[in-house]
Structure formats: structure tokens, C-alpha cells
């Protein structure tokens, strides 16, 4: 099959249009955050930095930002520990029930968010009889974040040269020393990439969050959801939306760079 010039041109145009389609709505939000009009009217006739100023002074927004960062950091930290342990076990050992275990890690993210959300909500409230708080939210987020760390760590461990660990043991290093000085340095960048992905995943999650956060807990996505229907709030919500996109996309960019660097070495 050899594509003719016109066929290639048509494909290029369709691809460009698809990219325009993908980026326009996000661009509209970015532009609207500087739009002087209060009701999202397009095209903007005047631009202002006023909404950015209002947003930085909104106490509710700032505390929601703090909550989101706290939840995402705690969930990623738990995910790093659990994901690394599991990846070590899965890459180094053969055992009965290995297949179900690998399915179990992916399940929280493969099933629709609403199923995960209601299952955890039901488990916390009915089964355990605990109140929904920021702690239940962190537990829920950590559960679906394990998979990102696990996947990154497993891929690295499977490509790693095991002879160095054997050499370390032969030279008299104990099991912990070998892990600290030989294994960990080799998987560290994969763990950082996994943690960054976990952070991004947790930071803007909304569906599981609405089912597992306590009444008084407001993350940034919940703040957006609570404010977007309020009259006159749209421009400030635009500002926060831009910030959320930045905070969730930047870690992805760095994680991507980390894994790309490793592959090209």
C-alpha cells in the first residue's frame, strides 16, 4: 500500500483538526480565566487579571488546594510502599495465585469509578461502621494509585540485571544492604515516575472522591464541582481549572521524561 500525496494530505488535515478539537475546550477555559465578562460569553471582548487575583485570595480555594496536595502526597506515599513491595514479589518469585494478584492491582482502576466509589463507601460505612473523613479518602486514593507505581517498578525490575545483586551477596552484603545499595538505586527513577503518576491521578480524581470524602473534606475538584453551578463564580472556577490542569499535567510530563531517559540509555 502506497499512499498518494492527496491521501497523505487528507490524513494530515484530519489529524490537525482532531488536535484542534482536543485542545479547543481546554483553551476556552484558559482564555475565559482572563475574560472580563462574567458569564462565559464568547468571544471575549476584554481581558483582565482580576479573576486570578480573586482566586488567589479565596480562602476556600486555598484550603481545598492544601487538602488536595495532602491527600495526593499521602496516597502516593502509601502507593509507593505497597506498589514496590508487590512489584518485588511479582518479579522475583513464582507462586500460586500470581495471575489473580495482578488482576487485583488493576481492578480498582479498570472498573468504572462509580463501582469503586460505591463499593468503598459501602465498606467504610456499613461494614466497618466508620465515619467518612480525610483518612478514608486517602485509603481510597492509595488503593487505585498502587497500580501506577507497581507497573513502573515491575517494568524496571524485569529489565534489571540480577547479577549485581548476586555479586553483592557474594561479597558479603546482607539482604537489606543489597537492597539499599544495589537494587534501590537502580529502580529509584522508576519509583519516582510511578509516584508522580500516582500524585497526578489522585490530585484531580473526582468520582471515587465524592463517595469516600467526609462531609467537611473539600479537595480542589470538589471545590470546582461545588462552585461551578453558582452564579457569577464561573471565572474563578476557570482559574482553578487551569491550575488543576497544570498541577496534574506537569508530573506526567516529568514522569514521561524520566522513563524516556531510562529507555534511551
Amino acid at each position: 500500500m502506497r499512499l498518494s500525496k492527496p491521501a497523505k494530505a487528507v490524513l494530515a488535515i484530519l489529524s490537525a483538526l482532531t488536535l484542534v478539537y482536543i485542545y479547543t475546550p481546554i483553551g476556552v477555559v484558559l482564555v475565559n480565566s482572563f475574560n472580563a465578562s462574567k458569564n462565559m460569553s464568547w468571544p471575549p471582548s476584554e481581558f483582565t487579571l482580576h479573576w486570578w487575583q480573586v482566586a488567589t485570595q479565596s480562602a476556600g480555594m486555598l484550603s481545598a488546594l492544601g487538602t488536595s496536595i495532602l491527600v495526593a502526597t499521602a496516597a502516593s506515599a502509601i502507593a509507593v510502599v505497597l506498589g514496590t513491595l508487590l512489584a518485588l514479589a511479582m518479579s522475583r518469585y513464582k507462586f500460586f495465585g500470581k495471575q489473580p494478584v495482578s488482576l487485583m492491582v488493576i481492578l480498582p482502576i479498570a472498573l468504572p469509578g462509580i463501582v469503586t466509589g460505591i463499593a468503598l463507601n459501602n465498606a467504610f460505612r456499613t461494614l466497618l461502621g466508620v465515619q467518612l473523613t480525610i483518612a478514608t479518602l486517602i485509603v481510597a486514593h492509595a488503593t487505585f494509585c498502587i497500580v501506577t507505581v507497581y507497573n513502573n517498578a515491575l517494568a524496571r525490575l524485569n529489565r534489571m540485571n540480577r547479577t549485581m545483586e548476586e555479586a553483592s551477596a557474594d561479597l558479603g552484603a546482607g539482604i537489606w544492604t543489597t537492597f539499599r545499595l544495589v537494587t534501590l538505586p537502580q529502580i529509584a527513577s522508576a519509583l519516582v515516575a510511578g509516584a508522580l503518576l500516582a500524585f497526578a491521578l489522585s490530585f484531580d480524581e473526582i468520582i471515587v472522591t465524592t463517595f469516600t470524602a467526609g462531609g467537611g473534606v473539600e479537595t480542589l475538584p470538589i471545590w470546582i464541582l461545588n462552585n461551578m453551578f453558582r452564579p457569577g463564580k464561573a471565572p474563578v472556577v476557570d482559574v482553578v481549572a487551569v491550575v488543576v490542569v497544570l498541577i496534574s499535567v506537569l508530573p506526567i510530563y516529568f514522569a514521561q521524561r524520566l522513563t524516556a531517559q531510562e529507555r534511551s540509555r
Partner: protein
């Protein structure tokens, strides 16, 4: 590749006395592989099974319980009342069909939109261009789902960009409606469909395509007879995301769907306002069942090995 970790080991190790406690633990672990595996896997396995699998099983069980409509307490009596409701009340049938319809429409539309750009990325673009395109599809995939839904609230609004673009053509924005929600959902899941199809196309070897044209096949016949059959598993893999994520959605519908309800909304109102967890659990079984049927149909194409 790496700075010699071996010398690092020698420098950094303080060899513990042979009979110290730390040394005994270390050598015990070194010789006992089973114990080592158990220690590694215990915590993550306990977490996943206690927090998640137990929660899923409990959800299944709860669907067979009842809420006392008088006291609002959940009663652990086994019965099929919730499921009888699901099958007899026409509300649930309408909403299930609507959700299924939207999910199928969104999935098909996304596949059609994804094919040209995926093809361009895999077979036309230069390696450098390809890298840039992959990143520019990947970034919006990770950008907040909520923000993307919210963005469409601006796009679809009466004074929004869509109205501005359509007015010269004598058309109006669909506004916050079923159509608006379908457009938004199709938009949100598009990158999830493009990437697997692109990966699938990359795996189609160039020489097979050349052989096909050398043997006299026109471009269209090659696409239909060679590329499409090889690409089917990748298309199916991409469809899983669009389909599953639409089946379980309720936030997008709230934001841009107007008064439209999908299965997710029914689950949410039963958890929140009505506080009827057993009914919510029973309703949640519908998307789960549909997903299982969908996955078992799609498994035959080999899509699950393509994820």
C-alpha cells in the same frame, strides 16, 4: 550502564558481627525464599484484599439486603426485592437502555475519530513528529476529567464558542442536554481510544502493506483486507475504555446533561439523597454485568492482551 554498585556496596557496608541479631535475620531471609516472598507480599495483598476485594464482595451482598423505609436502617435480610424493582420498574429499563445507547454511540464515534489521526501518527508522520503527537495526545488524556467536563459547560453554553461557530450556519448549540452530554463524553474519552489504535497500527509491518500493493491491491482493499483485520484487537481494546467509562459516568451528565439521567446518577442519588445503599448496590450491578458481557464478547478478538 550504571556506576559500579558493587564497589559502592563494599564501601558502604558495615559487616555486622556474625552472631548479631541483624545478621541472623538477614541470613535467615537469604536462605528462606518462601519467608522472603511472604514478607514482601503480605502488606500489599492484605491492603488490596481487605480494602478492595472485600468491598466489592460486600457490595454484591448488600444488593440482596433491604433498607427499612421507615427507620432508614439497613436490614441484613436476604431477598430479591431490589432486583424485582430493577426488572419491573420501567424507569430502570429506560435509563439502562439510554446509558447503553450513549455508551455505544460514544464508543463508535470515538473509533471513527481516532482512526485517521492514529493512522497518520503510525504510518505517515516522521519519527520526530510522531513523538510530538504522542505527547500531545497523552497530555490531555491525563488532564483532569472534571476540568474537561467543565470546559464543555463553557463550550455548550448559550453564549459559548459552539453557538458562536454555529450561528453563521443558522444552527444552535445543543446546550445542556443528552446530545451535549454525548458530545462531551466522546470528547473526554477520545485520547483513550487513539492511543491503543495507534499502538496497534504501529505493529502492522510495513512490508505486508507493500506486498499487498505489489500484488495489485488498491489502497482501499489493503486497508479493508489487511489492515482492518490486524487492527481489530487494538480497536476493541480502545473501545473498552470509552464504553466502560461512559457506562459508569454520572458527573459529566450532571454538568452538561441537563435533566438527563444515566445509571450512574441513579446510583448516586440512592447513596446520597435517598441513603438507600442496597438499592444503589443493586443498580451498580447493571453496569458491572454489561461490562462483563462486553468484555467476554471482546475477549475473542484478543483485545485483552492489547491493553
Amino acid at each position: 550502564v550504571n556506576k559500579s554498585p558493587v564497589s559502592a556496596t563494599l564501601k558502604g557496608t558495615e559487616v555486622s558481627a556474625p552472631d548479631s541479631f541483624a545478621h541472623r535475620v538477614s541470613s535467615r531471609l537469604y536462605t528462606n525464599t518462601k519467608l522472603r516472598l511472604r514478607l514482601l507480599i503480605a502488606t500489599p495483598l492484605l491492603w488490596l484484599s481487605l480494602v478492595y476485594v472485600a468491598a466489592l464482595l460486600a457490595l454484591f451482598v448488600t444488593a440482596f439486603w433491604t433498607m427499612d423505609s421507615f427507620t432508614g436502617e439497613i436490614r441484613a435480610e436476604w431477598n430479591l426485592d431490589n432486583f424485582v424493582q430493577l426488572f419491573t420498574n420501567s424507569l430502570y429499563q429506560t435509563v439502562t437502555l439510554r446509558t447503553l445507547g450513549i455508551a455505544l454511540m460514544v464508543t463508535i464515534a470515538d473509533i471513527l475519530l481516532a482512526l485517521p489521526i492514529a493512522f497518520f501518527m503510525a504510518k505517515v508522520a516522521s519519527p520526530r513528529m510522531r513523538g510530538i503527537l504522542v505527547i500531545s495526545i497523552l497530555m490531555p488524556l491525563w488532564a483532569s476529567y472534571l476540568v474537561k467536563a467543565y470546559a464543555w459547560r463553557s463550550v455548550l453554553s448559550n453564549e459559548g464558542i459552539l453557538q458562536w461557530l454555529l450561528r453563521p450556519l443558522g444552527l444552535d448549540t445543543p446546550g445542556y442536554s443528552l446530545v451535549g452530554a454525548a458530545l462531551t463524553l466522546g470528547y473526554i474519552w477520545l485520547p483513550y481510544v487513539i492511543l491503543p489504535i495507534y499502538t496497534g497500527l504501529e505493529k502492522v509491518p510495513q512490508n505486508i502493506l507493500e506486498a499487498s500493493s505489489d500484488l495489485g491491491a488498491k489502497t482501499w482493499s489493503t486497508l479493508r483486507l489487511i489492515v482492518f483485520p490486524m487492527l481489530l484487537p487494538a480497536i476493541a481494546a480502545g473501545s473498552i475504555f470509552a464504553f466502560s467509562l461512559t457506562m459508569g459516568d454520572y458527573i459529566t451528565i450532571n454538568i452538561v446533561g441537563g435533566a438527563t439521567q444515566m445509571l450512574g446518577n441513579l446510583v448516586y442519588t440512592n447513596v446520597g439523597t435517598a441513603n438507600n445503599l442496597p438499592m444503589a448496590a443493586a443498580i451498580a450491578m447493571i453496569p458491572i454485568a454489561i461490562m462483563f458481557i462486553y468484555l467476554s464478547v471482546i475477549r475473542k478478538t484478543g483485545a485483552l492482551d492489547n491493553l
